[in-house]
Symmetry: C2
Subunit: 238 residues, 2 copies
């Protein structure tokens, strides 16, 4: 009667979950431009599955707010307005501020070195690959959320981080990727030395600055199959 308490596995086990994650990454990494159509067949073809899987993944992405679903018309990569973007950042700042404060007493030595390590990798990649840098910068925030042990907080931070990536893709300046490493490092050090209020302030400031980089910018659209073929390989090997 009672369900298992072990859940929210890190690795996707079903095809649906794999496609769901792959599509989310594709959107977050800005490989799929906001507003792009996402036909079920094309997605199914790309990942070597049926439309059923693609359709289910799209439905879940719609709940996450990364995809707009229009009945009988299809799915589109979410296309938030500038005002929506500001609202998303507002929510994210509130969440991540709470997140930092929740980390009280949850940073042990092992965790500390793990965080330092992660920030180090970020700094190394900052000037290089865009997609990888974006992913890593997001993962930093996700890791902190995970450390709180608060499942709902993790869920919401995950969603807002994703949506912020999308907003930055639409309105941010081209090379806004290298922003994070130093600021992340400062936050980590504040956390490790137990200065939570300072860490919270730094985080708030960090996100405020990221948000302030919202300016007009447009992107070019590519063929969906071409973009997704790379992601399809990901799930084959899994």
């Amino acid at each position: 009667m009672a369900p298992e308490r072990a859940k929210s596995s890190g690795t996707p086990r079903t095809r649906t979950e794999k496609v769901h994650h792959a599509l989310r990454n594709a959107i977050i990494e800005q490989r799929l431009a906001p507003g792009s159509r996402l036909p079920e067949d094309a997605i199914g073809d790309s990942f070597g599955t049926s439309r059923t899987i693609a359709r289910e993944a799209l439905g879940r992405l719609a709940v996450e707010g990364l995809v707009d679903l229009i009945p009988n018309r299809g799915a589109f990569v979410a296309n938030p307005s500038l005002e929506d973007g500001r609202g998303i950042f507002t929510v994210r700042r509130a969440l991540e501020r709470a997140m930092v404060l929740e980390l009280a007493g949850k940073i042990d030595a092992a965790t500390a070195s793990r965080l330092r390590d992660m920030v180090g990798r970020e700094a190394a990649l900052a000037a290089r690959n865009d997609a990888e840098a974006i992913r890593l910068a997001g993962e930093f925030h996700l890791t902190l959320a995970q450390l709180t042990g608060n499942a709902l907080l993790l869920r919401y931070v995950t969603e807002t981080v994703s949506r912020c990536s999308l907003v930055l893709a639409m309105y941010g300046r081209p090379h806004s990727a290298d922003c994070g490493a130093r600021e992340h490092s400062a936050i980590v050090e504040a956390l490790i030395s137990g200065k939570l209020d300072e860490a919270a302030a730094l985080m708030d400031q960090h996100l405020a600055e990221v948000a302030s980089r919202a300016l007009l910018n447009s992107r070019v659209e590519k063929d969906i199959r071409e973009v997704l073929s790379a992601y399809a390989r990901e799930i084959d090997t899994a």
Copy 2:
């Protein structure tokens, strides 16, 4: 190429959406007990659709965190632990604090009287009908969220309010309903007179008290595993 800007329609148009909404309501209203199995066949039969629809709805509810999906095992109504409950309240406090601060300059005369009116109705009902009072207390928070004009914030506040209701239903004391009216009134007055920081502090305190009243004193353990986990550790070491 660009998608419609009209989205998130109020009324569900596809069968999947209808089942999705229906199931969500059923869970939030506790018609489906936490931990209950949700077999695809049974859901399909209940709504007169195929398993496909039920399956899709369950997947979306899983993203929302209202359902746990275990591969090859099935779907279960989420069964938040007491700790989860605390986490939910933490998130809610962060969100509603931000919400109050976002209301700067958005309370005109008409809105002010509308809020006073609403709180007045709450006060009148406080000692009477429980279900109605609970509904009104929730609506107060939802109304404020709506006034911010922030779509994501509204969605998250709506979700957390729902979940808090669920948590209170599981772990809260019977007569924890009569808490709100006076505190709500104080918040409204602070808002109207433009003292946002004071309003935010009041809101934070208000929610903290609701949480502590319900959760801290609760000794009810609905989940056997929770009780036994402490004993299980002893056995492991032996």
